[in-house]
């Protein structure tokens, strides 16, 4: 495992800037999640690190050496693709053995056998090893493709939304499994997703991307609590952060245009009256959809709240986040 660093990396496709002057260090043993909507440049960053794309500017450093001139094979990275990841003309076993048999690794066959057995055990695919790669369910395919990365011991694992095509239950299981594997191997992992739960639960660091720019990088908790902008605040938290005009409540700092209110920033019982529009009982919690002077606000209440649509509830902000007209955080 190794440290991977991007230094001022820029990549353009025609006139579109996919990655814009990104500087980022993935420390040895870190689990870094890149978070951003489609088109934010997440996948391009993985492809730049793996060597499938060449940056237009900047440097990429793996274990202290610049890898700009190296082929993907020389860079010693493993990558899990979002889809189309298994070689369809091979068995599951041969798929897993493929990277080990490469001219760079040339692993002895008995060691290949041992490693495959090990990884198959962890990913619960031991009974499928002799299947054709095409005779698997979607979840099994994705586990095999994760397995194909895990049989190796590369400088860094790159994963491009590996769980996005799976059903919710499997995704939850594999999320925990991946985190456990990463921790036990001490692996360095760069993981791309647009799923904030994956980001919050697995990451040691989160990088938030906006149109190719790295807008914030830090621990998940820190990014959640201290977002630098409304854009970053929007990326994390369920229900999403509520946006209200700053002048709705007294006490906004000067220059503030928008108040960002997460559910825990909304104190119930005092303040301005809001009308309850809808009550969603989710079992462990209840979501309240409120109407505050014509602005929609979503907050949480306890599971057995007696509130019903049409009721009135007084609310006021508590330790709210304030943003200026451009969306930058000011307090």
């Amino acid at each position: 495992m190794a440290e991977v660093a991007l230094k001022g990396v820029t990549k353009k496709f025609g006139s579109t800037v996919a990655v814009d002057d990104v500087t980022l260090t993935v420390e040895d043993g870190a689990f870094v999640v890149l978070l951003g909507p489609t088109g934010a440049g997440k996948t391009t960053m993985l492809r730049l690190i793996s060597g499938l794309e060449r940056p237009d500017a900047g440097d990429i450093v793996i274990s202290g050496r610049s890898v700009i001139g190296e082929t993907p094979a020389q860079r010693d990275v493993a990558m899990v693709f979002q889809q189309y990841s298994l070689y369809p003309h091979m068995s599951v076993r041969d798929n897993l053995a493929f990277p080990l048999r490469s001219p760079i690794l040339r692993t002895p066959e008995d060691e290949i056998k041992r490693k495959i057995a090990e990884v198959a055990e962890v990913l619960h695919i031991s009974h499928k090893l002799d299947n054709k790669a095409t005779a698997l369910s979607g979840g099994e395919m994705q586990r095999v493709s994760i397995g194909r990365a895990l049989v190796r011991d590369p400088a860094i694992y790159l994963m491009d939304e590996p769980l996005s095509s799976l059903d919710a239950k499997l995704r939850a299981d594999l999320r925990i499994e991946l985190k456990r594997i990463q921790a036990s191997l001490g692996a360095t992992l760069l993981y791309v997703t647009h799923d904030q739960i994956e980001a919050m639960t697995m990451a040691t660091h989160i990088g938030v991307l906006d149109e190719g720019k790295l807008v914030q990088f830090g621990a998940p908790r820190d990014i959640y609590e201290n977002p630098v902008s409304l854009y970053v605040a929007d990326r994390l938290g369920l229900p999403r952060i509520n946006r209200l005009p700053a002048d709705l409540f007294a006490g906004a700092p000067s220059g503030a245009k928008t108040i960002g209110l997460r559910p825990e920033h909304i104190q119930q019982g005092d303040g301005k009256p809001a009308k309850v529009v809808r009550v969603e009982h989710l079992g462990d919690q209840t979501r309240l959809h409120l109407d505050l002077d014509g602005h929609a606000v979503v907050t949480l209440s306890d599971a057995h709240t007696p509130l019903e649509p049409g009721d009135t509830l007084a609310i006021q902000p508590r330790n709210a986040l304030y943003f200026d007209a451009a969306g930058a955080r000011i307090a």
């Binding site: 499938l52 993907p72 094979a73 693709f81 189309y84 369809p88 490469s102 001219p103 690794l105 095409t134």
Partner: protein, 312 residues
């Protein structure tokens, strides 16, 4: 994959379908059966009217096909009794074998030229198709259109320039010349067909192989080629059928050493009367290689069909 059928067909339906398929097969195979049977008939049986369905099989046609014969006096025939079964067949007609015919050579020419040009067309076609499919090439669309445009007129339309060119280059009546010519004609088809197949193979597979530690060329041979096997097999069959059956250029450009079977077979008719069994024997043997080749590659074709269906 099973489980897609809406209802399992009943046994009656299967019977009806079976009878229809067999009936259709019999009708379409009838000319082939007729050629096969005629090859084993005697000259008299082959032109009998009404046609004979049952007959005494003989290898006379095949012997005539592979040998040249001369008529001899009864005294000579008595003095030289036949040594082998094939000498006996011609002996009964008052003939002796003067030597082998040219059919064997012509057939081998067909094999060399047909398979040689097929191999070359598919080999070059695969490389070109891969490049067109994967790399950014200046004027790509124009180049592809140019390649296709070489097939827009019947090849024979350029017979005269090709004839002159071949004569000046010393390629007339050579194996090399015919292989090059058939390859040139087939290459456009080969590039276009294979490009379609390779386009269907997602790039992610090669990218995965690159990251897994392989070079671009190894990714091509280990990941792209096996998945393009279906397309390569289909293309090879098309190329072989064209090169194997080609008649016009063969007549025009070959006469001796490099003559292929198609222009040769009609000449059999002229050798002393109309020897239909020999012609039928030649046609039967001429059919075999393409048939065997197609059957050998059939597995790839069928696998390709189900393979694509499952993934989509």
């Amino acid at each position: 994959m099973s489980g897609y059928s809406v209802t399992e067909p009943s046994s009656t339906q299967k019977w009806v379908a079976g009878v229809l398929v067999i009936g259709y097969a019999l009708i379409t195979l009838m000319p082939l059966l007729w050629i096969l049977a005629t090859g084993f008939k005697s000259s008299a049986d082959s032109i009998a009217y009404p046609p004979k369905v049952t007959f005494q099989p003989t290898l006379e046609g095949y012997v005539n096909l592979f040998t040249t014969q001369t008529r001899q006096t009864p005294e000579y025939l008595d003095a030289h009794p036949p040594q082998t079964w094939y000498e006996e067949i011609v002996h009964d007609k008052g003939m002796v074998i003067a030597g082998p015919s040219r059919f064997g050579e012509r057939f081998m020419n067909s094999v060399i030229i047909g398979f040689g040009s097929t191999f070359l067309s598919v080999f070059l076609g695969t490389l070109a198709a891969y490049a067109f499919s994967r790399y950014r090439i200046p004027l790509k669309d124009d180049l592809l259109f140019f390649i296709l445009s070489t097939r827009m007129m019947p090849p024979i339309a350029v017979a005269i320039p090709i004839f002159l060119m071949f004569r000046n280059l010393g390629l007339s009546d050579t194996h090399t010349g015919m292989i090059l010519l058939y390859t040139a004609v087939n290459l456009s088809l080969s590039v276009w067909l294979l490009k379609g197949f390779i386009d269907e193979i997602p790039r992610e597979y090669e990218e995965a192989a690159l990251i897994d530690g392989y070079t671009r060329f190894q990714a091509f041979t280990k990941v792209v080629l096996p998945q393009a096997a279906t397309g390569i097999a289909a293309t090879a069959i098309f190329c072989l059928i064209f090169a194997w059956n080609e008649y016009a250029f063969a007549v025009l450009l070959t006469s001796g050493t490099a003559q292929t079977a198609p222009p040769f077979i009609p000449t059999i008719i002229g050798n002393g009367g109309q020897d239909w069994p020999a012609v039928a024997a030649g046609a039967t043997l001429f059919l075999l290689p393409v048939m065997v080749f197609t059957i050998l590659l059939r597995k790839h074709l069928l696998r390709g069909i189900t393979f694509g269906a499952v993934r989509k």
